[in-house]
Symmetry: C2
Subunit: 506 residues, 2 copies
Amino acid sequence: MAKGKAKRGIPSKKDEFAAWYPFIVEASDLVDKRYPIKGMDVWRPYGWKTMRLIDSLTHREMERTDHEEVNFPLLIPENLLDKENALVARLKKARDEGVDPDDLRMDEEEGGFKKEVYWVKNAGENELDIPMFLRPTSETAMYTMFPLWIRSHADLPLKVYQMVNTFRYETKQTRSFIRVREIHFFEAHTAHADEACATRQIEQDMEMVDRIMHDLCLPIIKAKRPVWDTFPGAWYTIGIDAIMPDGRTLQVASCHHYRDQWAKAFDITYEDENAEQQYCHQTTYGMSERLLGAVVGVHGDDDGLIMPPAIAPIQVAIIPIMPDKDPAVGIAIAEVCRKLDEVGIRYKVDDRDLRPGTKYYDCEIKGIPLRLDIGPRDVEKGHAFSAKRTGGKQPMPLSDIVNEVQTALLEIADELRNRSAASAENIIQPLPEFKQVDGKWQMNGQVETDTIYEMPFDGTDADAEVIERATSLSFLGDSTTDYPEERNCIITGKPTSRRVLLSRSY
Amino acid sequence: MAKGKAKRGIPSKKDEFAAWYPFIVEASDLVDKRYPIKGMDVWRPYGWKTMRLIDSLTHREMERTDHEEVNFPLLIPENLLDKENALVARLKKARDEGVDPDDLRMDEEEGGFKKEVYWVKNAGENELDIPMFLRPTSETAMYTMFPLWIRSHADLPLKVYQMVNTFRYETKQTRSFIRVREIHFFEAHTAHADEACATRQIEQDMEMVDRIMHDLCLPIIKAKRPVWDTFPGAWYTIGIDAIMPDGRTLQVASCHHYRDQWAKAFDITYEDENAEQQYCHQTTYGMSERLLGAVVGVHGDDDGLIMPPAIAPIQVAIIPIMPDKDPAVGIAIAEVCRKLDEVGIRYKVDDRDLRPGTKYYDCEIKGIPLRLDIGPRDVEKGHAFSAKRTGGKQPMPLSDIVNEVQTALLEIADELRNRSAASAENIIQPLPEFKQVDGKWQMNGQVETDTIYEMPFDGTDADAEVIERATSLSFLGDSTTDYPEERNCIITGKPTSRRVLLSRSY
C-alpha cells in the first residue's frame, strides 16, 4: 500500500486502482458501505443526486424516443418463472443439438436464475402458498402483463421502461456500483410487429447509448456477445463495456433482440391487418448504477472524483474569500448566483466557516468541475478566479460570467473525453499470433493484464475456448465495427473482417 | 349495482363509491390490477406519471427546506430490530404503568412489526444466517447509520428523506393506492439538538403539508392522534387525513415527534458546545401513494377522474377537428403547441384517427383539466373552443392562448378546492350529546355513516372507549384547531377547548 501513496491518504489510482476505487467512493460521500449487509450500500445525498442526474439522461432519451415509464411490482411469484425456465431450457437444448428451437417442446426445467435470487417464502407469521422472489430483472413480470395490453397491430410498438431496485444474490466479492446485491436498475422493454422493427429498435438503442456515453464522457466498446454469453432467451445480445483504467472492461449496458422467442413462451400475440394472430418480436435495453462506477473509475484521479459536467450535482463551487473584509464580495457572489440561476447551472456557495484549503479539498475529492474564488481583490478587478478540476486556473470577468462558466464546463467535458479516449486507445492491442506446435496451440508472446485484445477470428466455439484458455481472457464478442479490410483468422487462417475482442471483465 | 349507474358503465360515485373507486383507477389507466399478487398493482404510464408529479411537489418542498435525498437498502437484518422492539416494549410498559419510560430497562421483547413484514430467509439455494425483512418503513435502517454521521452539534440538524418502495403484509382487503402491499412511500427523517428544534421541524412539516395539499386541492384534517394510536416510539403523532366523499377519513400523511426516545435506543448522540454528549431529538414525516388515492376519490365524478392541474400529466388536451379539411388547422395547432412549450404547460395533441367523441371520452375519464378543440371554423374565427373538465365551455382567442390557458387552469384548481372544501364542511358535524342512564352512557341520537364528528372532550382513555363503542367510530385525535371558546366535555362536562374528532377511517 505504501508504494505510490498519494497525498492525504488517497491511494494512487495508477498503482493501486483496486484500493483507490473503494476508498474514493466513500471519501467523496457517494455511498456509505457500513450498512450491515454486504453489497448493499447506503446512497448518501451526493451519490444519489449524481445517480438521479445520470437517470435524467436516460429519462431524456426515453422521452425523445416515445418510451413510456411504468413501475412493476418487485415481487414475482415463483410459478411465473415456469414459462421462462421452459424457454431457456428449450433454447439451450436447441443450441447444444444444433436444431431449430421451434422443433423442440417446452421442458419445464429449472433455469439458472433461481440460484441468484432472494426468496420471500414467509410473511408475518405465515408461510406463503406460492414462494416469491425479488426481481433480478423484469421480463417475467412484464411479459405476464403484455398479452393483456397488446391486442392488435394498433397497439404496436409497445415501448415501456422503468427505473427500479433489482436484486441479485452475489456470491462473488462485492464492489460499490459495480457488483452489488441491490441494484439501481433501468430496463426498457419493447414489443414490435416483426423482426425488422425490433432490429430498428436495437439501432435506436445504440444511438441512445452513444448520446448518454457522450454526456458521461465514457469510452466504450460495443460487442455482439458470443452465443454462450447471450442473455437467456435472446437471439443476440450487444454488450456495452466501459474501458476501465486497469484495462478491465465493465459492462454498463446491454441490448437484447429476442425475436419472437419470449413472445412464444408468454403467448404475446397481436392481430395483424389481415386479422391473423402473429407473435410479437421483442427487445430489451438495460443499464444500471454501473454507469456511475464507470464514471468514478474512468475520470477520477489521485485527488478524488472528476464529475462530467452533465451529471455533476454541483457544477460550480463558489468560494467566498475573506467575505467579512469587504461587503462587495457578498454582493458580487449574489449577482453571480442570480445569473447562474437564470440559465440553470448547478452551483453551491461554500460559505462554511472553514479555511479555503479545506473547501478546496472538498471540491477536489467530490470532483466539482469548476471552482470560482471570489475575494475583495477579485471584485476590485471585476473578475472571479477560476480553477478547473481538470487543471487550469484563470481569472473570469464577472461581467460575462455565464458565458465564461458555460465555456469552461464544455472544455472540461471535452478534456475528459480526450483523456479517456486516449487512455482507451492505448489499452486495445492486437492479440499476439497463435501457432500449432506438436498439435498444441501456442501464443507467440504474452498477454498483459491491463490490455484489451482484438483479433480477426472466424473459428468455432472450440477454437474460442483454445484462445480463452491460452490467454486467461474472456471473449467480449464481435466488435460492432468490423476490420475495414479482411484479415486472416488467428486460428483458422481464413480471411475475415470480424474483429473479435478479448478482455478481463468485471 | 343497477341503481344510479351512470353512463358508459361507470358506477355512480355518489351511490356506489365502493364500486366507483376500483372501476375508475383501472378505466383511467392509472394501474392494472391483474398482476398475480393481491395488493400489488402495476403502475401504468398515466398513473406513474401522475405519482411522479405528486412526488415532484414533495421534492420541491424538501429542497426548499434543506432536506437531502438519500436511498437506503430495502432489506433490514432481523437483529437490527432488537433495539426497536426494546424501545417499543419499554414505552408501552411505561404507558401501561404510568411511569417515566427512562425508569424502565430495555426489554428485548417482540414488537408488532414482525407480524406485518415480508421475510427473506433464503437466497439462491442457501438459508441466510440472519433473516432479513423488506422495509415497512426505515427508522431501523436509518438510525443504525445516524450515529456514524452525527458527531457534533455542527452536524445538526440532519435532515434527510427518501422515496422508496416499502412493504406491508396486509391481511385486510386491499384497495389501489389506499391499502396495498408494495407502497410507493416518502419518508423524511431529521435529528436535532433538542426538543424545541424538533418541534420547529414538526411546524415546518405542517407548512409543507399545507402547501402540497393546496396543490392537490385536497381538504384535510390535522389531528394529534390519541396515545393509543401514536406511532411506536413517538412522543406524539400528528395524522393528516383526507376527507373522502363517503365520509371516511384517509390518512395521507403523518408526522412524528420522537423526542430523544429513538436516539436513546440507537445511541444517537452529539457533542454539544460544552464538549458533553447529548441525545438527539428526532422527527419523521411520511406520505405515500395514498395522496393519489385521495385525489382520485375526492375530485373524480361519474365521468372519470378530475386531475388537479398541478399534477395532471396532461394539463391540456388538444383535439384537431377535421384537420384534413383545412391545413390551417394543423398550422394553428403547431403554433399553440409552440406557445405552450415556452411556458412549460403539459399538453397532448390527440391526432389519433378516431372520432372526436371517443377522444372526449378519454379526456374525461383521464380527468384532463382542459380540452381545446381546434377546427376550420375555429381557426377562421381566431379561437380555440375550450372545455373545462370541471364544467364550462367557451371560445379562447388564439392570440392570447397562453394567458387564457393559464387562467383556466387556475380556475379549475380553485373550483376543485371550493367543491372539496364545501363537501368536507358538510361532512363534519357535532357529535350528539351523551347522557348517563342507570349508570350506562347513551347517545342522544344516531351517528351517520358518512359523517365525521367533532366534540369537546377532556375525558380519560376509558371515556374515549365509551364513545368509540357507542358510535362505532374511531378517535382521529385532537384537531390542531381548538374551539375558539371553551365548551363542556361531552362526557365529564368540564370546560375544555379541545376539539376531538371521530371518524370511520380507511
